[in-house]
């Protein structure tokens, strides 16, 4: 009797779904603009972002090289920045090289696992980036302060240095806090999906 009740319930749902789909078949649903939008969709924003990085990094390095030369900052600092930017861009390119649209054609578990792995790689890469930025920032502030100390004739020199360092530090702290919030959100998304995948694949 219970089995019959269960089957009746599911059969009822099947009937409801059939009614739903037969009503959908009578609807147009898709219009010309929708089709055009779908075919004209731009590359994913992530791919555009990585392409943007590849274009901007050389420009940024030229600007920083000019700044280093004019301010007499160490070329070791510049080399550290250059290496970090090139490694970061290369990492972003490798992690994101498989478009999402290519991933979605496989079975649900495999697709979710691959997307989750991609998200985790991005998270790890992001953390590594934050560490790099922190080291570079500290080194940069030290060099700027030392540069200002060398033969600086400004009145209230210490106040100027203090304000500059405080400004850079506050900006950096705000940036790090925002980045941490984003990182936490990304981790939550990853964890929810991982939990679901594990529930499904552990049925055997």
């Amino acid at each position: 009797m219970e089995k019959d009740n269960n089957m009746n319930e599911l059969e009822q749902m099947r009937e409801q779904m059939n009614i739903f789909k037969s009503r959908l078949d009578k609807q147009q649903i898709i219009n010309e603009q929708l089709v055009r939008n779908s075919m004209g969709s731009k590359l994913s924003w992530i791919k555009n972002f990585v392409l943007g990085e590849i274009i901007l990094v050389p420009i940024l390095l030229i600007i920083m090289a000019t700044f280093h030369a004019s301010e007499g900052l160490s070329w070791w600092l510049f080399a550290f920045l250059a290496a970090g930017l090139i490694i970061d861009t290369t990492g972003d390119f490798i992690i994101n090289r498989i478009p999402k649209s290519q991933l979605l054609g496989g079975d649900l578990v495999a697709t979710s696992q691959r997307l989750t792995k991609m998200k985790k790689q991005r998270t790890s890469w992001f953390i590594a980036g934050m560490i790099f930025v922190t080291i570079w920032l500290v080194w940069f502030i030290i060099e700027i302060v030392m540069r200002l100390d060398d033969g600086c004739n400004l009145p209230d020199h210490n106040i100027v240095v203090g304000i500059m360092v405080a400004g850079i530090a506050i900006g950096a702290l705000i940036g790090i806090f925002v980045a941490w919030l984003i990182f936490r959100k990304m981790q939550r998304t990853n964890n929810q999906l991982i939990e679901q995948i594990n529930q499904v694949i552990n049925e055997d």
Binding site: M13, R23, Q27, Q28, S38, M39, D107, V109, T111, S112
Partner: protein
Amino acid sequence: MEKTEANFRKLLNEHKSTIYSVCYMFSKDQDEVEDLFQETLINLWNGLDKFEGRSGTGTWVWRIALNTCINSDRKKKKRVDTVPLTFDTDFRDDNSVENRQVKLLHQRISRLQPFDRAIVLLWLENMSYDDIAAIVGISTKAVGVRLVRIREQLKNMNDN
């Protein structure tokens, strides 16, 4: 499959109800349905030339639609370029007997976890356990076990 506008339109005409029903069952409001629907269409277009035809087009469309809905980032804001769908009835507002049945179906299914929703939707489509297993990526036996649990959950929903 060759990535041509003709092939894409043919695919959409044949499977629009499937795509919409999947997006509907994974959404909570009409905005979300339209977002998921648009995203699915974009993913279908972008993946059209990668589809090798090893499975039928229907199975492939199911995979793309379900993967899009399960893996969609729900916290994203509504896409600015989302196009409203063309309907002459509103399944959420209209209180006809048929619409109440659709809403009840949506209520039951949306209370399941996303992977369970996918399995139920495929079962409601009269797919075999083997086909469901191939789309979800688990064993046929696991599909059977999963469906038994889903039935119990649905029964408990009714009892509560």
